[in-house]
């Protein structure tokens, strides 16, 4: 009789890394469909090119350095998808290609591949593009084809945070940004922006789905979005920013960042306490960049900066052993 001898446990949960990653991709699909609907078929091509190049780059690198080949485990596809989601629709096709190659080769594989990269590859790729071709990134916003409601005309041509940055002294525009109509459109995603960030509704649905599946931790999105909302509302009340906290939560890439990029396992803390600190830190940096930085949007750089702080956060917050009991009724 031949028996297998191994250390306990002898049963395992039916789950794997590819399954988690593909579930995250599925959670992004509603927002993706919305962006195809509002920006046209070009959005689809951008994402396909981006994902394809990501897989191809990963495969070439893994073959060249003779590592285990895992290019279909979904992580490269997710990186490509998230990077494309961070681009405006009119961007030339070579931009996502260059960005994805940077993300996979420099940010991911150079550090050892999945599990070892210290910054989010998709965001690193985006930061690389923003730093190298700022013109291509900032002036090519496009309004959704059906979003041209008369009042919203001004802000649908440019991303709302950009409008705010340029016109914060103009009371007419500010009051329009603060209006209920503006908030509604921001929530539904009827405005200009990058591919994936516009529809808070669909991103929220995807995020809640992942939280319900227990694939991402609710602490990071909650602390991140909460910090931005509360701080911005306070600054609004003290007159430092002309628009209220809700506008700041819904505008820009906060939902995409908080639910899908700050929660990236590899580049966020693994302890509960660390995740609170990480989320709050992302929120504070986002607020600082949006109010006083040169860029209108700060989500990308906030997450990248906090990624670098993760080892320090984990070192500072030693685990508390023996948890208290939980009472359910």
């Amino acid at each position: 009789m031949k028996l297998v001898v191994s250390v306990s446990p002898h049963i395992h949960r039916d789950i794997s890394i590819p399954r988690i990653i593909y579930t995250v991709i599925i959670a992004l699909v509603p927002a993706f469909i919305w962006s195809i609907y509002s920006f046209g078929i070009r959005a689809l091509w951008l994402v396909i090119v981006s994902c394809g190049v990501a897989c191809l780059t990963e495969a070439i690198v893994q073959i060249l350095i003779k590592k285990r080949r895992t290019y279909f485990d979904g992580s490269a596809i997710l990186t490509g998808m998230l990077l494309a989601f961070n681009l405006p629709v009119k961007v030339p096709l070579w931009i996502p290609i260059v960005g994805v190659i940077f993300a996979i080769v420099v940010a991911k594989q150079a550090f050892g591949g999945l599990g070892y990269n210290f910054i989010n590859p998709a965001l690193a790729g985006r930061a690389f593009i923003v730093a190298s071709w700022p013109q291509a990134m900032s002036s090519l916003w496009s309004a959704p084809k059906f979003g041209a409601i008369s009042d919203m005309n001004v802000i649908t041509n440019v991303a709302p945070l950009g409008v705010l940055k340029m016109n914060s002294g103009n009371p007419a525009i500010v009051s329009m940004l603060n209006s209920g109509e503006s908030i509604k459109n921001l929530f539904l995603g009827v405005y200009g922006g990058t591919l994936g960030e516009i529809s808070c509704l669909f991103l929220l649905l995807g995020g809640i789905f992942l939280i319900a599946m227990k694939y991402i931790d609710w602490r990071i999105p909650l602390s991140y979005i909460g910090t931005v909302g509360i701080l911005m509302q306070l600054f609004y009340m003290f007159g430092i920013t002309p628009v209220n906290g809700i506008f700041h939560i819904l505008a820009g890439g906060l939902f995409l960042g908080a639910f899908f990029m700050a929660t990236d396992y590899v580049t966020s803390p693994i302890t509960r306490e660390g995740r609170w600190v990480f989320g709050v830190g992302c929120g504070v940096i986002t607020v600082l960049i949006r109010l006083w930085g040169a860029q209108p949007e700060g989500v990308c750089f906030a997450i990248l900066i906090m990624n670098c702080f993760v080892p320090l956060i984990e070192r500072a917050l030693k685990p508390k052993i023996f948890k208290q009991i939980k009472i359910l009724s």
């Binding site: 009789m1 031949k2 028996l3 297998v4 001898v5 191994s6 250390v7 306990s8 446990p9 002898h10 049963i11 395992h12 949960r13 789950i15 794997s16 890394i17 399954r19 988690i20 895992t70 050892g112 591949g113 999945l114 599990g115 070892y116 931790d217 396992y265 590899v266 966020s268 803390p269 693994i270 302890t271 509960r272 995740r275 984990e314 685990p319 508390k320 052993i321 023996f322 948890k323 208290q324 009991i325 939980k326 009472i327 359910l328 009724s329």
Partner: protein, 446 residues
Amino acid sequence: MQVRTFLGGVRPHSKKITQNNAIEIMPIPKMVVIPLSQHMGIPAKPIVEVKMRVKAGTKIGKIGGEVLSPASWTRIPNRPYEADSRASCNIHSSISGIVKGIEPYFSSSGEKVLSVVIESDGTDEIELYADEAVSPDEIIKRVEDAGIVGMGGRAFPTYIKLTSRKDKSINTIILNVCESEPYLTGDSRLIMEKTREVFEGAKLIMSVEGAKRCCVGIGNNKIKNLWQIKAIAKEFGFYVHILRTKYPQGEEKQLVPVITGRKVPPGGFPFDVGVSVYNISTVYAIYEACKIKKPLIERVITVTGRVKQPKNVQIRVGTLFKDAIEFCGGYSEEPAKIIMGGPMMGIAQADDNVPVIKTTSGILVQSRRDISLYEEYPCIRCGTCVSVCPTGLIPSRIADYVEKNKFDEAKKLYIMDCMECGSCAYICPSKRNLVHLIKYGKIKIK
């Protein structure tokens, strides 16, 4: 009603297929192999010789070192292991017959230990004690003589536990019937069928420890005649606590705070907060030793998994696994893994020719399609292991340090407080062998 639970833990599919099977008494096997080390600490010394005739209940191994008195049993803070290493325990023959040999034999604990092989003569004569044990001192003496150990798996000699508690102020004892391991049903069958006997045993323990209160912790998934147990508990003045089914609810350090609200300090024991926890099989063994005058020679185990008729079996200590499986109809599929205990913490066997020992709570047979041989991925730091660890450790980081031979760093992350419940390795999406690495690290540090 308030249902309490601890933070962390996992919920594997319970698969309690033998839940409604009454305990069956297995006929005496042709041969038993009784290891002289079925407990923590020093092995027992053999006091029989080859070709000697023994009865069931004859003492065949006596305490290896000195009998530990409360004064000599010193506790070293944060190091439970040192204190236990001098313990030892008596061993009895479980059948009547002729001693065939005293030789090293593979035990189901995974080690090769000196064992007494006894061939049955078919008569099953039994040697009982002369009288019942009544007073606390008599009870301790009897428990020591009857070779009773903690039958939940830790195998710490119970007489040391009882004596060392006499000077501690214990006010609550807890009967542990959680059985949170999947598949195993022996303990819950025992409380269903032998409720009064078990509660009598608990009364004996309370009289020794001077405890005022007795709580029974039962998982909420399984007991059908709960109202009966509750009624009997009321007669005895015991409290029944229904606990959420979650693994590892049966661990002392999870059970004590959930039932009493008192937190056991890291590195400490339940008695530091005035509580002592007894596995129900141990309590039943104490009852048998004191009232039925029988030493510990048999116990209830669950034979389950890929066998033709999964059963709860009352079985003699030393019965070989293959005989037990034969009694349950044999294998229903080609076995790929035979496990002593439950699937979460059990020990995989290399052979079915190993004996049932005092701490065997079950025999689980897995076939090829049950066992999971996965490709290991690198850790993606998802943190699931952190969220399920009932002790509040960071299993993935401890394992990383062990992998890189950084044992000091692992120690700083409280590797020694890990109880190896296996929740982290069960839940890990990368299928890392976390428990393996942690066990290895502990051995290296010790």
